[in-house]
């Protein structure tokens, strides 16, 4: 009996070691990237030999990198706005629907997530060039919205599902128009969901790489594409710095999303 218990404890320890290793493999490389951003030398070194913010200064002095930062923020803002509009209206429109109609539309929204990014990128590149739209901000916003919309839709859908819609009816019974009732009764209650959905869409666009690689041009290049271009040549400390900024944005999303909606919802809704 004690022998059985011993193997059970050994197994449980083995399980813990395996999980800790997996967690380390998942997270430590990213932490190492951050650490290399704070080193003074002109090569990417770990562990850092001399702590310095030198490369953050170099980033601020580089016009190419600043341009790509501005491009990324612009595209992410546009994507967030467009996919919020599309995702929220779709979640409202499908509220109360079931069956084929619903799964058809949800399937349509999800399909772009399942088609390989390179294929969508290639398709949109050939399609947009027929209209002279290749390398434009609009092309990037539209492409990113294809991937951000299913996420805003799914977050808003589960947000609306938690709202007590009788309150909305009650407001209308009291004489408010449908829109006023929505603005004054529903919106304040679902504000957290709205913020999380908009943030998720923003981050998805900020971090998206494959479609941006094909669809951006020298003037519209986003940060991940710029980082890729310089990575293909050599390991550049500036890439560590922008990686740190991108990781900080993700951390902000996770902290804010966790505080507003709970980490569990952030993990399962998206």
């Amino acid at each position: 009996m004690s022998c059985l218990a011993e193997t059970a404890t050994a197994r449980s320890w083995l399980f813990r070691v395996v999980v800790a290793t997996l967690f380390g493999l998942l997270v430590l490389p990213l932490a190492i990237v951050v650490a290399t951003a704070f080193d003074a030398s002109s090569a990417v070194v770990f562990p850092p030999t001399e702590l310095s913010l030198r490369w953050f200064g170099e980033l601020l002095a580089s016009r190419t990198w600043l341009r790509s930062l501005a491009n990324s923020l612009l595209v992410a803002t546009g994507t967030s706005a467009l996919s919020m509009l599309v995702g929220t209206t779709a979640a409202l429109g499908l509220r109360g629907y079931d069956g084929r109609f619903r799964s058809g539309l949800v399937g349509l929204a999800l399909l772009p997530l399942l088609v390989p990014g390179v294929v969508i990128a290639v398709t949109l590149l050939t399609f947009f060039s027929a209209f002279g739209l290749q390398q434009s901000y609009l092309a990037l916003v539209l492409a990113h919205s294809l991937w951000a919309t299913p996420l805003t839709f799914s977050v808003m859908q589960s947000t609306f599902a938690r709202f007590d819609w009788q309150l909305h009816e009650a407001a209308m019974d009291l004489g408010a128009s449908r829109l006023t009732a929505f603005r004054t009764v529903v919106v304040p209650e679902v504000r957290a969901g709205l913020v999380v959905a908009a943030l998720v869409a923003f981050i998805v666009s900020l971090q998206e790489f494959v479609m941006a690689l094909f669809l951006s041009g020298p003037d519209t290049r986003t940060v991940p594409v710029q980082a890729w271009n310089s990575l293909r040549q050599s390991l550049d400390p500036l890439v560590s710095v922008v990686s740190t900024l991108l990781l900080a944005a993700v951390l902000l999303l996770v902290l804010l999303g966790g505080a507003l909606a709970g980490l569990d919802r952030l993990a399962t809704d998206t």
């Binding site: 059970a8 997996l22 998942l26 990237v33 467009l82 799964s103 929204a109 494959v210």
Partner: protein
Amino acid sequence: MSLSDSRPARSLTALPARWRTAALLMPLVVLDGLVFLVPMGYLFRLSFTERTSGGAFVEGSWSLAGYEYVAETPLVHEIFAFTVGYAVLVTALAVGVAVVYAYAIWRATGWPRTFLLAGAVCSLFTTIVVKLFAVVLVFSPRGVLNDFLTGAGLLAEPLFVVDNLAGAVLAQLYIVVPYAILAVYAVLSTLDDRLVEAARDLGADGIDVFREVVLPHARPGVAVAAIVSFTWSIGAYPAPLLVGSGSEQTTAILVSQLLLAEFDWPAAAALAVVTVGVVLVTLLAGLWGLDDGGELLG
């Protein structure tokens, strides 16, 4: 009040509701229609145009030349076979890791649970480029891990896990594993603790519980994890390009070469259509295999 009296009144209130629904769904239909379905149709049409050395494709022509190229070029077969094998390998590893990790999140409480979950979510949202940079930095022959292992005397020679198949698989795992973890976890989080307790009370040990209760419950999540890992790896592009050697060529890399370097749009389009076909077949087979496939879309 007879039935005939109430009918016009009902259809009057029903009509605006229907229009309202249509108006609310319009943005989604327009976006996915104009930016996804129509371009996909355009790609499909392109794949049936004639190939030419003078430009990208012959406008208005009909031809099967693109598909003939895909069907008859040995190099394309080789690359296609490699890509499928690569995707299967990545999928198997990703699902294995995801089940263990998601089970660990589900079992953990308090801070360990928060950290495990946050780690997966952070990795999920981090751009592919940063993850690939991290992989190169940590796993290359003169990288952090090899320096540590050889420095500590654990290894005499550095491990070569970059610029080869192992590197391409490892890098692709960093891209798909977070999605796989959360797909399994989303389903696992609906598992009732009492079911596990009941199994324990009936004398099951940890492994029995995992095999008899947890795994069957997680099945739909495992299926989604497998589908996502496979469809994303069949289209793998940046990971094999940056962390693989030249011989880890995938169909996605070939498609982009045909399109951008060789300017052979019919061949590129035909290969892309075939790739999408493989993805759709996998997807349908996966949905069909699950009895409650409809729920995946809900």
